[in-house]
Structure formats: structure tokens, C-alpha cells
Amino acid sequence: MLTFTIRRLVVAIPTLLFISLMIFLLLQLAPGDPMAQVPLTVPPEVKQKMREALGLGEPVYVQYYKWLIQFFVIEPTVFIDWLTTQNRLFNWLPDTDLYTPCGPKAPADCDLRVLSWQNRSPVMDIVIQRLPQTLTVVGLSYIVGILIAIPIGIYSAYRQYSIFDQVGTFITMVGFSIPPFFTGPLLIVVFSVGLGWFPSIYDTTHRVTDWDSFVYQMRQMLMPVMVLAMQTTAQISRFMRAAMLDNLNQDYVRTARAKGLSEAVVVIVHVLRNSMIPVVTVIALGVPGIFGGAIITEVVFKVNGIGAYLIDALFANDLPTVMTISFIFAILIVLFNLIADILYGVLDPRIRYD
């Protein structure tokens, strides 16, 4: 199992490098010029200097190498410094000082962070600020979706072709087909405009201090979470149903029944455990997709998470930010692929070839 895991980890590194190169080259090929907005009165040699300040004067491979250093060496050192000095959880660790910021009196080998072209502040700082919003909405919706989907899948497979199964299959098919950019506005029209139950705009400055503010937080999270959860539910319950159906007709189920086990034990212990093997991997593999859906949901409900930030940066032609956020999405995908692979190995000894 350990060699299996290590092999997977080793494969993940070139994958990430390849993806970063792809994104980098895509942005390099882009015809957009960050200097396009600079007034024409600025002399060309000043423009050239500005270009170099943005790191644009050098050949592509040097830029790529510098970006790699920035992302994989400098940003982590900033993070470690922050962790050991300011974070409440890891304050007890000895204070580190790995990062030397650039400034007027900085040494020549100071560390330049990935800076946004929009506001000249480090991209990662903004990402870290915005990530919690995305993670709470996305994470909660995923958990809600799974919790709804699994019982539906189990029951509709157990009572195949019953009314519940027919209705459940139809509803999941509908949920699977309606895109989030339609369900979002639809829910806003019905529940915010028509009934006035929930706010239509997600207020990220809202702080939970007492019961009332907690209730408000729940109310404003409900709609974005439901929109995202609907996609998850539809997908996972379909998989759950198919996996249960595959297993329900197997010989071991008949044996279990013949031994006189109760139906609950047969279904929950025997069938469910075997059916969960493919479903767990589907759950892990679905995480990146839900982040993609989160981009749209964040735009619809005006949640200022990293998805909405990506769209902002894209329209502002802010390539370092676009690059960083896309790459964060890529890391998430590779990470969850890895988790899915390892889970598959843990759950199903047959595919562990070590």
C-alpha cells in the first residue's frame, strides 16, 4: 500500500509541472498587453522599464523558472513565517524568518512574491483572504449533496422500478440537466424576490457573533449551497443507484439472506459497503468539478470567493492572478485525484498492485 501511495505521489509531481507549463504557455501566447492601458504620452523607454518591472523583458523559460521559484519556494516561506509568528494554532513553533521582503533598503537577493497587476499586492494574500468563503460554500454544499444523495441512491436501487425510484430518477435527471446559472437566478426570483425569505446577495463581511447573526448566515448560505448541492446530489445518487444495482443481484447477497440476516443488515452492511467503493472515488473525483461550478455560483450570488476573483482578474487582464488561481484549481484536482486513487486502493484490495 505504501509503495502504491508513493508511486502515485511521484506521478503527481510531473503532472503538476506539466499543468503549470500549459497554463503558463497559454498565458504567454495571449496577445493581451498589460501595457495597453498606459497612456500614449509615456515614452517608449519608460514603458520598456515598466515592462521589465513586471518581469516581461526576459525569455519565456526564464520567466517560467522564476514563476516556479516564486510559487513553490517564496510563497511557502511566507506562509511558514506567518504560521510560526502570527497563527494562533502554531505559535508555539520557533519563529522563522525565511522571507526577506523587497523594499527600498532590501538586500539584492530579496524575495519577490507573485504580485497582482491590478493592485500590486501579493496574489496569495488575496487568495488566502477569499478562500474561506469559497471553501465554506463549496464544502458545505458538497457534504449536503452527499448526505442527500446516498440514501436516495440506496433506496431507489433497493426498490427498483417503484414509484420512489421512478420519481427519484426523474428528479436526479432534471437536477443533472439544469445548469447552475439557471437554478441560481430561478431560486433568487422565487425565494428572494417573490417570497423574500433569503437574501439574494451573499454578504461576506457578515460576522457570526450571536444566534441571530448565525441564523442570518445560514439563511444567506442556503441558496448558493442548494444550487451547488443539487448538481452533486444528482450525480452521486445516480452512481450510488447503479453501484447498488450491480451488487444487489450478486451471489453473496443471496448467501447473506439465506443465512437469515435481516434485510437491514444485508443492505447496509453487505451491499452498501461494496457499493461504496466506486462511489467514494466518484465523490473524490467530483470535488474539482464542484469548484468549477462554484465559479458560476459565486458570480450569481455575488460571493466574493476565488472563483469570482478569477473572473475579475480575467476581465482586468491581470495575468499573474489568473495564473495563480488556475494553478490552485489544478492543485486541487491533482490532490483529489490522488485521494481518489489511494482511497480506491484502501477500499478495494484487488486493484492494489504492489
Binding site: 503532472t15 506539466f18 499543468i19 440537466s177 446559472f181 430561478l186 426570483v189 458570480v299 480575467l314 488556475s326
Partner: protein, 324 residues
């Protein structure tokens, strides 16, 4: 069949010969017909396709034609509960803030959405089948092509699509002369390039299993070239998984195009597509909810029918299920 003779010996002889021989596609159709959702989905898809193709022959209003006197007209059905609403038989589904007719826009927008969906799906199938067949058939290419497929599968697709469409909009528009043509090629291209992976995997798996079978060996012994084996013996046998993933590809392509339009990186603003109409309607959806509903319902119904069609096809083309 000839008149049945009265001699019992003749009647016993070979009764099954009386049945006409059935082809595989006949069986497939029989199984497909039993899936009610798939039948309805298929019928509805044909209806929508015909509607958007031929709709402007019946409903002759120009989707871009401005009619300032009849702007912000509500759908005719609003008159049932709100007698003071501004309705007109000239615009049965209403008109927008510049007086452009909604029905005509839905037809024109649907044509774009369906065109993008079908073309992107065909491109996806082409790339997926090509890579799948190459990887499955030629052992030397297998490792590298499948590693490449895995790599592309772990790309963050939606961010990359957004980036590609935003960054390459201007040069392509310049190359193709008109903004519509440039955007069409760009969107179809990026959807095709980023969604072929599942098809490639399925096709490769099937080709790997098929090429060890005796009929391929026989074809090879008869001196058939690799190209002949692939086109005449292998491709017809992987047609059914390709068709199933084609339905999925069509659904994904329609949704992706609408999502791009919704996020504001799709077709130019005076060029209606369903996603674009939906996005344009969102700011004023409190006063005019039907402007969100119409394109949204059209996208959802189309995708729903395509998904049902795929479900039915999967059942009908699976020989283990067929005939049960």
C-alpha cells in the same frame, strides 16, 4: 411467406424460417422503444432542432429588429392574472427593453446554441475516437497517449476555457472577419480540445479488448492492412459506446457554451444565444422573470432530453440488457 400447407410434417419442419431475419439495429430500436424517457427525449430533441432550424420561416420577425413602441412587452399569458400588463399578440413571448421579439430571439439563439453543441460534439468525438483508436491499436503509442489523456484530465477546464476564450477573442475575430464566426470557431475549438478525454478512454478500452478477438486475427491473416482493420472491423464495433458518449458530449457542449456566455466571455452582445439571453436578463429579473425563465427552460429541456436519449441509447446498445 407462402400459404401454410396442411401437412403436419411441413409445419414442423422449420418454423423459425418464417420469421424475417432481424438485424442488430432492429433489436436496438425495439429495446430503445421500450424506454419511454428516451423516446420522449429523442422526439423532443428533433422537435427543438427542427424548431430552431425552420422556426424563422414561420415566425418571420427579425430577432435584431428594434420596435421601440412595443418594448418591455410581457408574454401574452401574463394577461390571465394581470389585466393591466402590457401584452400584444405581435410579441406572444414578449419583447425586451429595445423591443426585440423574444420568440424570434429564442429561435435565433437556439440555432447558435445547437450549432455550437453539435459541432463541438462532433469535434470531441473525432479527437476522442482518433486518440482512443491510436492508443488501443498501436502498442507503442498507448503509454504516451494515455499519459497525455490523464494529464489533460487533470487540467482545470472551466478556468482554462475562460482564459482561452478571453485571450484569443481578438486575434480570431480578426482572422475570420466577423465577431460571430471568430467566436464560433473559438468556442467550438476550446470545447472540443478540452472534452475528448472520456471518449478516448472508453474507445481505447474497447479497442484493446476487440483487437485480440478472432475476427481481427482472421482479417490480419487475410492480409488486411492496419488501416483496413481499423476502419472496417474495429470502428463499426465501437460505434455504440461512441454514440452514448456523443449524447453526453452534446449536453456538455450546450451547457459549456451557455456558461461561457453567462459569464460574459461568449458571443458578442448583439448576437443572441440562450446563455447570453439568460445572462442579459439577470439584472432585471425582478421585473421580468420570464426573460430568465424562457432561455433557461430551453437550455434545461434540451439538455434533459439529450441526457434521456443517452440513457435510452446506453440501454438499447448494451447487448447484455437488450432482449431482457
Amino acid at each position: 411467406m407462402t400459404e401454410p400447407t396442411t401437412t403436419p410434417l411441413n409445419a414442423l419442419a422449420e418454423p423459425e424460417i418464417t420469421r424475417p431475419p432481424r438485424s442488430q439495429w432492429h433489436d436496438v430500436w425495439d429495446q430503445f422503444r421500450r424506454h419511454r424517457g428516451a423516446l420522449m427525449g429523442g422526439g423532443f430533441l428533433i422537435l427543438i432542432t427542427l424548431g430552431v432550424l425552420l422556426g424563422d420561416l414561420i415566425w418571420r420577425l427579425d430577432p435584431k429588429g428594434l420596435d421601440i413602441q412595443n418594448r418591455d412587452v410581457r408574454p401574452i399569458i401574463t394577461a390571465i392574472w394581470d389585466s393591466s400588463a402590457k401584452v400584444s399578440w405581435g410579441h406572444p413571448l414578449g419583447s425586451d427593453n429595445l423591443g426585440r421579439d423574444h420568440l424570434a430571439q429564442i429561435i435565433a439563439g437556439g440555432r447558435t446554441s445547437m450549432a455550437v453543441g453539435w459541432t463541438a460534439m462532433l469535434l470531441t468525438m473525432l479527437i476522442g475516437t482518433l486518440i482512443g483508436v491510436l492508443a488501443g491499436f498501436f502498442k507503442r503509442l498507448d503509454g504516451i497517449l494515455m499519459r497525455f489523456t490523464d494529464l489533460v484530465l487533470s487540467l482545470p477546464i472551466l478556468p482554462l476555457l475562460l482564459v482561452a476564450v478571453t485571450l484569443f477573442r481578438q486575434p480570431l475575430v480578426k482572422i475570420f472577419g466577423s465577431p460571430e464566426a471568430g467566436m464560433f470557431v473559438l468556442i467550438v475549438g476550446v470545447i472540443g480540445v478540452t472534452s475528448w478525454m472520456q471518449t478516448a478512454r472508453i474507445v481505447r478500452g474497447d479497442i484493446l479488448a476487440l483487437k485480440e478477438r478472432e475476427f481481427v486475427l482472421a482479417a490480419r491473416a487475410a492480409g488486411t492492412t492496419s488501416r483496413g482493420i481499423i476502419t472496417r472491423h474495429l470502428l463499426p464495433n465501437v460505434l455504440s459506446p461512441i454514440m452514448v458518449s456523443a449524447t453526453l458530449g452534446l449536453a456538455t457542449a450546450i451547457i459549456t457554451e451557455s456558461a461561457l456566455s453567462f459569464l460574459g466571455v461568449g458571443f458578442p452582445s448583439d448576437f443572441p444565444t440562450w446563455g447570453k439571453m439568460l445572462a442579459d436578463a439577470v439584472p432585471r429579473m425582478q421585473e421580468f422573470p420570464e426573460r430568465v425563465m424562457l432561455p433557461g427552460v430551453m437550455i434545461s429541456l434540451t439538455v434533459l432530453s439529450v441526457n434521456y436519449l443517452g440513457d435510452g441509447l446506453r440501454d438499447a446498445l448494451d447487448p447484455r440488457i437488450r432482449g431482457r
